[in-house]
């Protein structure tokens, strides 16, 4: 065997090369995704330096002066910081407790429907609110809950009750927030669980039926364990968003009387960043949010694996 031949055999047999040669067009399909991640996620990261600089329009991002941790010190010393942080965490936890299980329950209910036509109709109806923008949803919420002309308050008064300040009271802010969030997103949230449910082996149900398991037992002992992996992954992803509450919905529902509990890090950073032109300070807030999110993802992934469940990696 001469050298040329052996080189050719090595080249031919190299598993990585062979793999790329066989699947290269699949990798070509990866390029748009990777490019989009690079363009919209990685490349803007150079802007993170603003959190450590005193940004000036005159000097630009690179020319602005370094101020170290000054903006973080200002953030942590701010009269609003602890309140805003607490609001962000409480709102997120409430969302996890109420809004996270809702799509799972809805998916399980939809999965139990036997009439396919009816099931699809219901699915379409519950998906629809997802495509309505928050601006419209909040306009609807305002029209429903307005103290002066809202339908709900009109009903309450007709039943002999007193009008409730749904839109401006601190007591009602979170229930309204969570309820509107569930109404808008629960249906759409079922998509991923419906996909997971479709992957459950039908033979498991058949075997359970032969063994005499009723519907509830099949749900509890087959369906739920089978989608638990998906639920765990979704939960870990949600944990990464522990300080992200979504901007639009809260911003639109927020007003001076309920701001004490309505202001979260996103709205705060928008208020002090975009509206008051303090870009560095707003970047510092965003950076802090991302750091906490990252820690939460690692932590929940670790805990999930420690408890014998699935992890993201």
């Amino acid at each position: 065997m001469n050298g040329k031949q052996s080189k050719a055999i090595v080249k031919k047999n190299h598993p990585l090369l062979a793999h790329f040669k066989r699947f290269y067009w699949l990798y070509v399909f990866l390029i748009p995704g990777l490019l989009s991640i690079y363009l919209f996620k990685l490349s803007p990261m150079y802007g993170l330096q603003l959190a450590f600089k005193d940004f000036s329009l005159a000097k630009g991002v690179w020319g602005s002066e370094w101020v170290g941790l000054e903006h973080f010190r200002t953030l942590f010393k701010s009269v609003n910081f602890l309140r805003v942080l607490k609001n962000s965490i409480v709102t997120s936890v409430l969302r996890l407790l109420w809004a996270f299980p809702f799509p799972i329950i809805l998916a399980l209910l939809l999965n139990e429907m036997k009439n396919e036509k009816y099931k699809r109709t219901i699915q379409t109806i519950v998906y629809l609110p997802h495509f309505i923008s928050w601006v419209i949803v909040i306009t609807m919420v305002t029209a429903l809950l307005s103290k002066s002309e809202g339908v709900i308050n009109t009903l309450i008064v007709a039943c002999g009750g007193e009008k409730i300040d749904f839109l401006t009271s601190t007591k009602w802010f979170r229930p309204v927030l969570i309820a509107s969030s569930i109404w808008k997103e629960a249906g759409w949230g079922t998509v991923i669980y419906m996909a997971a449910l479709a992957g459950v082996d039908v033979q498991l149900y058949e075997a359970a039926m032969i063994d005499g398991a009723n519907r509830w037992q099949r749900l509890l002992h087959i369906t739920v364990p089978c989608i638990l992996g998906t639920v765990t992954i979704m939960l870990i992803m949600k944990m990464g968003d522990i300080l992200n509450n979504g901007f639009e919905q809260i911003w639109l529902l927020q007003n001076a009387p309920n701001k004490e509990i309505a202001e979260v890090l996103e709205t705060y950073s928008y208020q002090v960043g975009l509206r008051e032109g303090r870009f560095s300070f707003a970047t510092a807030i965003g950076f802090f949010q991302s750091l906490v999110g990252m820690v939460m993802v690692f932590l929940s992934n670790f805990l999930s694996k420690r408890m014998g469940g699935n992890g993201l990696w």
């Binding site: 363009l39 630009g60 401006t168 007003n255 004490e260 002090v272 303090r278």
Partner: protein, 544 residues
């Protein structure tokens, strides 16, 4: 074949992903610092020596409060006249009015800026704008303006003072100049009639009468429909979260919390003053109204646009307003009719009358010219022409002569042409009758003329002119306009000011007692207001 299709699809996806990443205009700046391309005499240095002089100059103008200039509309035809006269090609950039300021912040960061940008008045105090001016992002117009006679003749000196933002003689924009005024209230005349309440136009109300009127408009079924669906006063939340100052004005607080010189010569901002308790009086009164349910109960949750919609539906008995905009006579269909009240006076008030000031004296929006604009002289030429006698007929008529209205030799206006266009708009779902561009672009500062609806009869015009004159007379001149002490950019100061807005809301809604305001004031002084006050007084004294 499959692979070819796959490769094709992948290429399409890549191209889609990359679309929009391009920059259609070559970068003209480096490091965020921009250099004007004209010398300070206003003469353009031709960037392209071969430019054909017949070729129209392209201008991009970003406007506030103009939602559309549909092709073929009255506004569009006016725009075409300007273009033809001055050999321009104007592109109107019209961001939505809500969120305009956020749009501005982003525009300042963007390299591809419009040639002309309209700023709300309060931006003369904004750090971003000041920073942008210092960085050379906008032209200093001070040496260019002199030769534009119409701009100089029809702009109040105080407007130029406000746009001298560094107080060093440099001017950073062309103002939509405006006389300062103290607006009063529009009362529902038809509701007054229904309730048998007598009121003569032009009379001041006392605080008690004002309260009783709001009460009657809320609870005595003024529209006589048998349903509890009315509210005494239109009230809504401003972008800052504060309530619109309809009631605060009664207590002389003013718009934007101006500084006043009191009779004894002391300088004071009545909102944050510890020496005068007008703000606490305001908080006490508004809390009383809030708890009685006689002002819009959703005031904190709605903005001006929603409040206006509700007003259109006939919800409010009283609203703030300027006599120049007040509809005259009963509205067709609804029978809604207004009467103008110049204001509310407080019994025993040493100031003695309804009066307030504003920090935006003399400027009601202004235009800054980007340093990337290659022909700033054409922009100034455009402004000068719009303010000329030739165009004054259109500005004054707030439409386009012989297209939207006609004017006879006696000076009578006829708007039947606009009415016909509006009728067709209704049928076709178009918006060709729109004239908001003409109304919002620029105006002359001199006198009441501009503000009078020309479709009124001469007697009605005279009546409205008198009411407008009264708003000018009632205005309390503010001091130190356009000056902001350095502390306003201090994060602790800003944070506390924001915090006060939410805490103030608690006083209004009754969750905290009015005395809580003293506690908030103490905190604010500690957060830097004492320094602010000291600097502001020193500055005002220095200008005397």
């Amino acid at each position: 074949m499959k692979r070819i299709v796959a490769l094709f699809l992948a290429t399409v996806m890549i191209m889609t992903a990359l679309s929009g990443c391009g920059n259609t205009k070559p970068a003209e700046t480096t490091g965020g610092t921009q250099t004007p391309v004209v010398d300070q005499s206003g003469e353009s240095k031709e960037s392209d020596a071969t430019q054909d002089s017949d070729e129209p100059v392209k201008l991009k103008i970003m406007l506030h409060n103009v939602s559309a200039v549909p092709e073929g509309s009255i506004a569009d035809q006016w725009s075409t006249i300007l273009e033809e006269k001055l050999n321009l090609e104007i592109e109107w950039i019209l961001p939505p009015a809500s969120g305009y300021e956020e749009n501005l912040q982003i525009t300042l960061l963007n390299e591809d800026k419009p040639d002309v940008i309209c700023f709300p008045t309060n931006w003369v105090y904004q750090t971003s704008f000041q920073d942008a001016c210092e960085s050379g992002m906008f032209y200093d117009l001070s040496d260019m303006l002199g030769k534009y006679e119409n701009i100089m003749a029809h702009t109040a000196q105080m407007s130029w003072d406000s746009l001298d933002i560094f107080k060093d003689g440099r001017i950073w924009g062309v103002p939509r100049s405006s006389p300062a005024r103290a607006d009063g209230l529009w009362l529902r005349q038809d509701w007054l009639n229904n309730l048998g309440i007598e009121y003569t136009e032009g009379e001041f109300l006392t605080l008690d009468e004002f309260y009783d009127l709001m009460y009657a408009f809320t609870y005595n079924d003024p529209d006589q429909n048998g349903v509890d669906d009315t509210s005494g006063l239109m009230l809504f939340s401003e972008e800052s979260g504060l309530l619109f100052p309809t009631i605060a004005r009664i207590f002389h607080i003013g718009d934007g919390f101006p500084w006043y010189e009191m009779e004894d010569g002391t300088l004071v901002d009545l909102k944050y003053s510890k020496e005068y308790d007008y703000y606490k009086q305001y908080l006490t009164f508004i809390n009383k109204c809030w708890e009685a349910g006689i002002v819009e109960p959703d005031a904190f949750a709605i903005d001006y646009a929603v409040a206006l919609e509700r007003d259109d539906q006939g919800r409010y008995g009283i609203r703030h307003g300027y006599p120049g905009n007040m509809p005259i006579g009963p509205e067709e269909g609804s029978g809604k009719e207004y009467v103008y009240c110049p204001g509310v006076v407080i019994d025993g008030d040493p100031i003695g009358t309804y009066t307030y000031g504003t920090t935006s004296t003399g400027v009601w929006y202004y235009y800054a010219i980007s340093s990337t604009c290659e022909h700033p002289e054409k922009v100034l030429e455009l402004f000068d022409y719009v303010l000329s006698d030739e165009q004054w007929v259109n500005l004054n008529g707030k439409s386009l002569i012989n297209v939207g209205f006609t004017k006879d030799a006696e000076g009578n206006y006829d708007y039947s042409m606009t009415e016909q266009i509006a009728e067709k708009d209704k049928e076709n779902g178009t918006n060709l009758a729109t004239t908001s561009l003409i109304n919002m672009f620029l105006r002359r500062s001199d006198g009441v003329e501009f503000f009078i609806d020309k479709s009124l009869t001469p007697e009605q015009q005279k009546h409205i002119a008198d009411l407008i004159q009264e708003t000018f007379d009632l205005h309390w001149e503010a001091k130190g306009i356009g000056y902001a002490p350095k502390i306003v950019t201090d994060p602790v100061f800003i944070e506390y000011k924001n915090y006060m807005i939410q805490e103030e809301a608690k006083i209004i809604t009754g969750d905290k007692p009015v005395e809580y305001w003293d506690e908030l004031l103490d905190g604010f002084y500690k957060a830097g207001y004492d320094k602010y006050k000291e600097d502001m007084i020193a500055y005002i004294e220095s200008t005397k």
